[in-house]
Symmetry: C2
């Protein structure tokens, strides 16, 4: 491709609303343009990289035995009503009525559509396992789109859905998809952190997120310095730094301990102030927080509450003073769609005390949930349910009894690894891919069955496997750039080689045309910068758009002995002189070497 | 690919709502499934053909210098408001509000989005010409989707938009696109009828539709038996079968003719009844039809009407009794968004006479538009603007004067070609592609400019070029099928070769595996039917899905002398025996030959 016949509108500066480097560089290099907040168009340069990523993903999916399909982007709402998500997806689901007043969804994900397709044509166990995937447009009505294509409203996902007769088959495909994902990211030159939901103490039947480390990541990851433990902070566990006990044992152990007593704490509300006042550490406090849980449910709650469970359930949550409550764990414990701190008014109503003086001793009429840490506390300080008053020597079991005890702490850097006891640390990450065992969630709701070997109707198990293309491309740029621009790995580079004739005329033009023809014959994606611009401008544009190999052709080098050109890898500081005659072969060989090493690097894990 | 690892849910019968052969065969062969009325999902088999068509189109677009981009499917309404089409597109435009109450459009076409992209980055004439295309999802809220993917609601189009400094450059790209389209259809093995808007008397600055002949076509085409004239009936012209004259000349010529006179025609309304009654032919009548034109405008009308032009304008239309008014021509003449026949009440009000007795002589207070044919009529019969009365000997010019005279007749089979005078005939067709010179319509409305060589701001000219992928695929099936199923051309076949081992075991399995490996090594898309089914079932499925080459491997042929297999082209009646050793090479060579002949057949036109 000749530069003058292509369309690369580079920008000196990125627009002000571009906050992260990948967004800036994608705009500056002319890869993308914004059509509206969260809606990005790919220009020809960006689309070349996008298509290469698409091809890598397609190759790996096909190699893993998945079959490509193409459902529609506009999907009838009936299917979402069948699965129940029409009601539960909230406002991120873009809904639309057509001219006949029928409801449709602009697809944000395709469990429903694919399950419906399979339902229509699945009859026998002989058709299973079946793994169908698409690479298609999705829409999520993000309330606050940001970071360019990392969190856009419209995006492209590869999403696969597999169907199975048994868990062994599901696990097989799940593992195959995990391997395919690792190959995909390796071919993109992208290190990812695999976050397994079942690698920690949380259990779970199978879910793995593929995270790209990023300072602007949406996810906080908890990693172990010693072993491979990696968890999303939403689910991360840690090794206890306390010795938990049962209520009965705690009661007994508390017999000889100092009795609970009230202390005056005038005008003191925060734990920090109390620590100063009482000259002790926050570890000796029990924090009591009042939450409202939305749509709670589940077995645990049914066994803890008599009668009907209300739509909004207030709960008192106890946790050691130096720790934070993990609201995701709390919501999950309560089977709730979410939890939020109660308002001051609600706190007063529930505890009968001013805000800042809640405590478990004497608290009644509300479900009390204690983090496990609280079970080891025998002489804690808590609010006394009255203005300017606290209790000291509060003992778990003796002075209060929670209704539910569970792990609801937020694990943080410095905590200990639940697997090996090593020190945990934090990273920010963006989720690029996710593989997940869905079991029967959709197949049951949407009444999919097949006949097993005995002719009996059975519900198939299901897995789903997603990868976001746009954000993967952005993550590669976040990982591979320098001050001058993008540093593409060969596998995703819009062009693999750039030819820069210092001036496109005379013998320089002849040499440039010759090298261009040779590279194209070797199947190398080549851009020839034939513009009538200063060499410096061409170099800057080449660095900005990040083409891996740059061949500079100038008068002087062509005339010295055997004609020479300057060859430079985009990431290198120095160029080297190579013979014009050999240049194409050298470039082709180095491209082949990078592609094959990217393909094999790291081995299977 | 092995059949058992693929997903081809063939059906013995197509669902009842499938009315046309392509729809039936796409369902029966397991290419597509319906998710909702007008919404079709491609299953793996169908998607393979779809992707091949996509590749053919992409190759031809790239070869013609067009650059691929990817705008969003969900497009901000602002752009459609700028172009004006937010108001004029009507209900076929699917509109959606997001959670922030902003308006969006599910893109049915991308003039607005592409024009906006170019506007942002176009600065200099040096960037032109520029031709951007996408192959992307579109949505049109058809009120009555039908014929499967031929007229679906969601579909995929290749649409290209080119930008130019001058008409010569626009014409160049327009011609290039026309050539690319002819190559695309040729490679698909699809004869198309090119319908040029400017090939007839209607004029027009450049528009060509590519029509596939089809009994269920939406378009009526007028073709010449002698020359290459082809026009959409909406615009078709014909050679006059009358001698038109001016009003002045007509007045003069009418001087010696019999005077207009009234005749009683009790209880006679239709022209057929009048013909019987007066013992004459319909050619001697002038039909007077009252139309209502919606949102009329344009220069011609401004010069014909004094004062403001109303939103709904009644007009009296005169045409020779044996002809039909072409409402598209009429609307276009009046610059109206549409025309419709007036209600009986309106007719009475406008003509002052009962329905069935309108006529031009004495008619006033309404704009009178005459088809050219009327200008040759000197002794016509017309309504007399009174119950049970007609006029005879009505002469154009003497007894009435139309306000506007134009060609508004519907051309029909039997009329004469406007180019050569040959006989015209009719065909039904579906539009698969359309290339169109838009000139400044969008660039002006959306304020796109570039600086010309003198540094002056100019508005670029624009062309647009669309092809519908789904309906092209369906058209290929309409063209290439027999009673047993689809007969794919190699270029679009989901698999190029099918291997049918009569029983997949022993030496038959060995031979099948060997041929499978050889064909794959040669790069042939091969399906091996490894199912434990009767040979007849495998043959029927193979015929239904239409794979071009079928290799049947059986015990007996393998054992006779050099091992033989049965090779059969899908369209042929007879199979031939070829040596197993040579089979792969023979199939590969015949595939190569078909692809290269499809590529070159017909030459450039």
């Amino acid at each position: 491709m000749k530069f003058s016949q292509f369309f690369i509108p580079t920008l000196r500066e990125a627009p002000g609303n571009a906050a992260v480097i990948s967004h800036k560089l994608m705009l500056r290099s002319g890869m993308i343009r914004q059509l509206a907040n969260g809606l990005f168009a790919y220009l020809p340069l960006g689309l070349r990289s996008f298509r290469k990523l698409e091809r890598i993903i397609r190759e790996e999916m096909d190699a893993a035995g998945a079959l490509e399909v193409k459902p529609t982007v506009v999907v009838p709402a009936e299917l979402w009503k069948e699965s129940g998500r029409w009601d539960t997806m909230g406002e991120a689901l873009l809904r639309v009525k057509n001219r006949l007043n029928a409801d449709f969804v602009i697809s944000p994900t395709a469990e429903e559509a694919i399950t419906a397709l399979v339902r229509d044509d699945l009859s026998s166990y002989k058709q299973l396992p079946l793994n169908l995937y698409q690479i298609n447009t999705k829409y999520r009505d993000e309330i606050r789109p940001r970071y360019g294509v990392i969190r856009g409203r419209e995006f492209v996902m590869k999403d696969a859905y597999s169907f199975h007769t048994d868990d062994e088959s599901l696990s097989q495909t799940y593992e195959d998809m995990g391997r395919a994902y690792r190959r995909i990211f390796r071919r993109c030159g992208l290190p990812v952190i695999p976050v397994r939901a079942d690698s920690g103490a949380m259990g779970g039947s199978g879910s793995e997120e593929f995270m790209a480390e990023s300072a602007i990541g949406d996810n906080t990851l908890i990693l172990c310095k010693t072993c491979e433990y990696a968890a999303n902070v939403e689910k991360a566990a840690c090794k206890p730094d306390f010795t938990p006990t049962s209520i009965a044992a705690a009661k007994k152990a508390a017999e000889g301990l100092p009795a609970i007593s009230r202390i005056d704490t005038p005008d003191i509300k925060s734990i920090a102030e109390l620590c100063d006042f009482l000259k002790t550490g926050s570890k000796n406090f029990i924090k009591t927080l009042i939450y409202q849980a939305s749509n709670p449910g589940g077995e645990l709650l049914k066994s803890s509450i008599k009668g009907n469970i209300p739509d909004t359930l207030p709960v008192a949550v106890l946790i050691r003073g130096d720790l934070e409550v993990n609201e995701i764990k709390l919501a999950s414990l309560l089977g709730a769609s979410g939890v939020s701190l109660a308002s001051d008014g609600e706190v007063v109503k529930i505890t009968g005390a001013p805000v800042g003086f809640a405590g478990p001793a004497g608290l009644s009429g509300v479900l009390i949930i204690a983090d496990e840490t609280v079970c080891a506390m025998t002489n804690a300080i808590t609010g006394a349910l009255a203005k300017d008053a606290h209790y000291q020597n509060v003992a778990f079991g003796r002075d209060f009894e929670p209704n539910i005890i569970a792990d609801i702490r937020t694990v943080a850097a410095g905590d200990r690894c639940p697997l090996c006891g090593g020190e945990l640390y934090e990273k920010k990450g963006n989720e690029l891919g996710h593989i997940f065992k869905l079991a029967c969630k959709y197949t049951k709701a949407m009444k999919v069955t097949y006949l097993d070997v005995d002719g009996k109707a059975q519900t198939p198990l299901m897995g789903c496997y997603g990868i976001g293309l746009d954000r993967t491309l952005a993550a590669v740029i976040e990982e591979h750039h320098d001050n001058a621009g993008i540093v593409w790995p060969v596998s995703l580079a819009p062009f693999e080689a750039l030819i820069v004739p210092v001036k496109y005329e005379g013998i320089v033009k002849d040499a440039a045309d010759k090298l261009y023809a040779e590279l194209r014959n070797l199947g190398i994606d080549t851009l020839l910068d034939d513009r009538d611009e200063r060499a410096g401008v061409k170099f800057n544009d080449g660095d900005l758009i990040g083409i891996p190999f740059r061949a500079v052709i100038g008068d002087k080098n062509l005339k010295s002995g055997p004609p020479l050109i300057e060859l430079k890898r985009r990431g290198d500081n120095e160029a080297r002189l190579v013979e014009l005659e050999k240049a194409a072969a050298i470039i082709a060989e180095e491209i082949r070497a990078e592609l094959s090493s990217a393909y094999s690097a790291g081995g299977e894990t």
